[in-house]
């Protein structure tokens, strides 16, 4: 395990002295993990294989038959996806939308989560629960009132509209998750910092944020994915006024015609659009290892 190999990780000593697990139990462990991996991968693999098959065969034979002769594979679906008009612009738009719409709520939520965790004020718990409760508000019920105000302010069709909207929609979960994480950090660390004269600003930037890195990483991934795959918010706040600014999901949805013809292109499109979020996930993996929190506590 990489984390344990890192010399600074506090788990090193413990791992070294751990009794080696019995081989049979290790085998069961591997079997269970591998079985789960296979079950989870099969649907996606099926789609991946299908995305390389000609459409005329998709409805008449299963994807696994592609591995038996005659090997009918084709790049046509991918070619059609890339030839879809405006897919390049849509990709750029998606980036323009997703990056700020991920970063803004993270910051806004962090301050709020800190206040909920380490400041005392009347009505704190109730207010916090109301914030979390807003998770249940169906996005669809907010579209009309918000769009009306956006229109008055001239925001429709602009990226700013979706940046703000995704911040609003993402906040309840962001505050919830960060509050849970920051709130479970050891009280002693904060109290000794306050005793040493540290202000809340110092405690926030020096203690709370560095110690919550895994939570921030998890949150960044979720928010990024949510925004990256969002069609509805973009369609309403941007699409109604300015189709030039629409993101990838809108371009992908347009591969299919009004009667559902062309659905077989969606598989190829899914892999094209999934590439970036997966890269983000891999990139953030290194923040999910043991030791970050403990290290910060001791350092």
């Amino acid at each position: 395990m990489t984390a344990i190999a890192t010399p600074k990780a506090p788990g090193t000593r413990a791992a070294a002295t751990r009794k080696p697990a019995r081989p049979r139990r290790r085998l069961v462990l591997h079997l269970v993990v591998v079985a789960l991996m296979v079950v989870w991968a099969v649907p996606t693999v099926g789609l991946l294989v299908s995305s390389f098959r000609p459409q005329s065969e998709l409805s008449t034979s299963g994807w696994w038959t592609a591995f038996a002769p005659p090997y009918h594979f084709t790049m046509d679906n991918y070619r059609d996806v890339f030839q879809q008009s405006g897919i390049g612009e849509a990709f750029v738009n998606s980036l323009f939308i997703a990056v700020p719409a991920t970063i803004i709520p993270l910051f806004v939520a962090a301050f709020a989560a800190y206040a909920f965790s380490w400041m005392q004020f009347p009505g704190r718990d109730v207010l916090f629960v109301v914030v979390v409760g807003l998770l249940v508000v169906p996005l669809q019920t907010t579209l009309i009132p918000v769009l009306k105000l956006f229109a008055e302010w001239g925001l429709t069709g602009q990226f700013l509209a979706v940046w703000l909207a995704h911040t609003g929609y993402g906040l309840p979960f962001a505050v919830y998750l960060l509050r849970n994480f920051m709130g479970s950090l050891p009280r002693a660390v904060f109290e000794s910092a306050y005793l040493d004269g540290a202000s809340h600003v110092t405690a926030f930037f020096r203690l709370a944020v560095p110690m919550s890195v895994p939570a921030f990483a998890a949150l960044a991934i979720f928010q990024f994915l949510f925004v990256w795959n969002d069609l509805l918010v973009a369609l309403i706040y941007i699409g109604l006024a300015n189709s030039d600014n629409l993101p990838m999901p809108a371009a992908i949805a347009n591969l299919v015609n009004s009667l559902g013809g062309g659905w077989y292109l969606l598989g190829a499109a899914a892999f094209v659009s999934m590439a970036l979020p997966l890269a983000v996930f891999f990139g953030l993996q290194r923040y999910f290892v043991r030791g970050i929190v403990g290290g910060a506590v001791k350092g």
């Binding site: 996606t44 803004i104 992908i252 891999f282």
Partner: protein, 328 residues
Amino acid sequence: MEESRLLTAVEVVLGVPAVLVAYIWLTERLLSPAGERWQRRIRPWLWLLPALGFLGFFLVYPTVRTIARSLYGRNELDQKFVGLDNYRWFFTNGDALGALVNNILWLVFFTGFTVGLGLLVAVLVDRVRYEALAKSIIFLPLAISMVAAGVIWKFMYDYKPPGAAQTGTANALIGAVGLGPVGWLQSPGFRLSTFALIAVMVWMWTGFAMVIISAALKGVDPELLEAARVDGANEWQVFRRVTLPLLGPTLAVVSTTMIITSLKTFDIVYTLTNGNYDTEVIANLMIKQMFTVGDFGRASAVAVVLLLAIVPIMAFNIRKFRAQEAIR
């Protein structure tokens, strides 16, 4: 054009955090002349202000309107006060009652499986060398858009008549052992189709639960576990007595989020069955009333029912926080 857009994006990516940090810094400066007591009273609100502003605008204000709207008629042309008529419609409508039953199934099984499997995966992969790979595979479905997930599961659940070559993975698998074929998405009996839909969402959301639980797991101090082992506890006891209690708050967060997700479940039902075969759910009813039928009164009433449904869960959360405060 392109350059100016890039410039705006860079400005936003760097500017917004800078503005927020400057905001906090500035409020501290402004607060400093005030007395300690006043600082304590005002500071939390200043830190909360940006978040509350966003929430107020995007969620609270529309929700207040929704609640008011639920007491009025169909649409702008017919906006008369109807009292609780819309609620009466909801609770006497056959579809709505079926949807309530299904939402309970969703709540129990979707939440149970995502949290259970998420915990299982997080704990197990923590002990294998290919952790990153395993986690990526479980996580992958979350990165797939709902549209693509619909296509994937049409392939999985595809049904051809008995005797014909099965093209759906699920029917081909059970066909290999001489069973089926089963119309997974078309079987109201035992609410099989609802379970088939729950399976799709479990597949998508287990990765979500896993990532959060795993992040918390990595925060558990290994020395605590080692201390328990030294005291002679076996692995199961270490998990049960040490790890699980430490994960408690995180599991509460994940469960609450999953419960709310199950209550709001809509897209997968809409794409795969649209409520046919006894798979109707509350959120789909709401969206149908709002956008297909155009009855904002009824749609708002359904949304309010959803809001009320989470009150007990939120009450549980309050208790949980107070308990957490006490032990911290």
